[in-house]
Symmetry: C2
Subunit: 138 residues, 2 copies
DNA sequence: CTTATACCCTATATAATTTATAGGTTTTAT
DNA sequence: ATAAAACCTATAAATTATATAGGGTATAAG
C-alpha cells in the first residue's frame, strides 16, 4: 500500500495541476484543501521540486507550480520518488535493486521469476499513466 | 514491498512443497534451512494452518505438512493472508476495502481508476501463479 | 531599506508497525 | 512417565512512517 506521503504527493500534484492558470500556489492552500499538516507537506513539495517536477518561488507572492506538463509525469516517477521501489521484492527492483537477504540463488528462485512478471505488469500501467490521466477525471 | 513475514511464509511453503514425500516437517528444519527465528516462523506456520493451507501434527514425530496441492495455492492467497491487501490503495482493495481518508469523492478520483487497473494487472499474475510454479524452478 | 511573506533545510520527536522473544499449555509417540 | 513438538497469547525490541520545530534565505511591496 502507498504511504500517506505518496498519497499526499498525488493530492498536491493534482491540486497544482488544476491550478496551472495561476502563477503559484501556497503550501497552505493545498494543506487546507486536503487537511494535510503544513510542515509535512512542505517536505514533500521540496522533494518534488528537487526531482524537477515542481518549481518554486520564494518570498511574498511566492509558492509552488508545476514545471512539467502533466502528461510528462508518469505515476511511476512520483511513486519511486516518495515511496521507493515499486517491485514487491528488492531482488526484482529496477531502480532500487538489492539481493534478498535469505536468498541463496537468485537465478533459481521461483518467486523471483514471478515477481518480475508482477513488476512488469505494474509498470505497464504506472509508466504509461501520467498526472494528466488523473486530472482528467476530476 | 513484501514483509519478511510474507517472504518467510513463501520459504516455508517452498520447503514443505519440496518435502511432500515425508509425513511431517519440523519448524526447526525450516528455520535452520533459511536462518529464520524458530518462534517467529512458528507464528507464521500457525496462520498458514488456520487458513487451511497447512496441516499439523502435535507431539513426538509431529510437524507441519502441506494439506493442499501446490497448484491449488495461488500466490495471492499467501500474500493476502500474511501481508494484507495487494492493492496500492485501500479504496481499490477487493479483500480489504476501505475508503481513503482524505478522499472526497471516490467516483471522481482519477488515482482510484488507475489503481484499479494496477490491481487487476497484479492479480492477473498472482491469482494464476501458484506454489507449484515457484517449486518448479528450484 | 525595512518588513512581512513564503519557501528552504535539517534535526528531532512521536506514533505506528514490524519483527522477534518469552513462557507456559496441550497433544502424542515411545 | 517422559520427552518431543505444536499451540497460544502476551510482551519487548527494532524499524519505519508521520509529524513537528525552528531558524535560514530570498523576494515583493511600501
Amino acid at each position: 500500500m502507498l504511504s500517506k506521503k505518496t498519497k499526499y504527493a498525488f493530492h498536491a500534484l493534482t491540486y497544482l495541476g488544476k491550478h496551472m492558470d495561476q502563477k503559484t500556489v501556497l503550501i497552505q492552500d493545498i494543506s487546507e484543501e486536503y487537511g494535510i499538516s503544513h510542515k509535512f507537506l512542505e517536505n514533500i513539495l521540496l522533494e518534488l521540486r528537487k526531482a524537477g517536477i515542481l518549481g518554486s518561488k520564494k518570498g511574498k507572492g511566492g509558492g509552488y507550480y508545476l514545471i512539467k506538463d502533466p502528461k510528462d509525469v508518469p505515476l511511476s516517477k512520483v511513486i519511486r520518488l516518495l515511496e521507493g521501489p515499486i517491485a514487491l521484492l528488492p531482488c526484482v527492483s529496477l531502480n532500487y535493486y538489492e539481493p534478498c537477504a535469505e536468498c541463496k540463488n537468485e537465478a533459481k528462485c521461483g518467486l523471483n521469476k514471478v515477481m518480475i512478471q508482477v513488476r512488469d505488469e505494474m509498470l505497464k500501467v504506472l509508466e504509461n499513466k501520467t498526472l494528466a490521466d488523473i486530472l482528467d477525471k476530476e
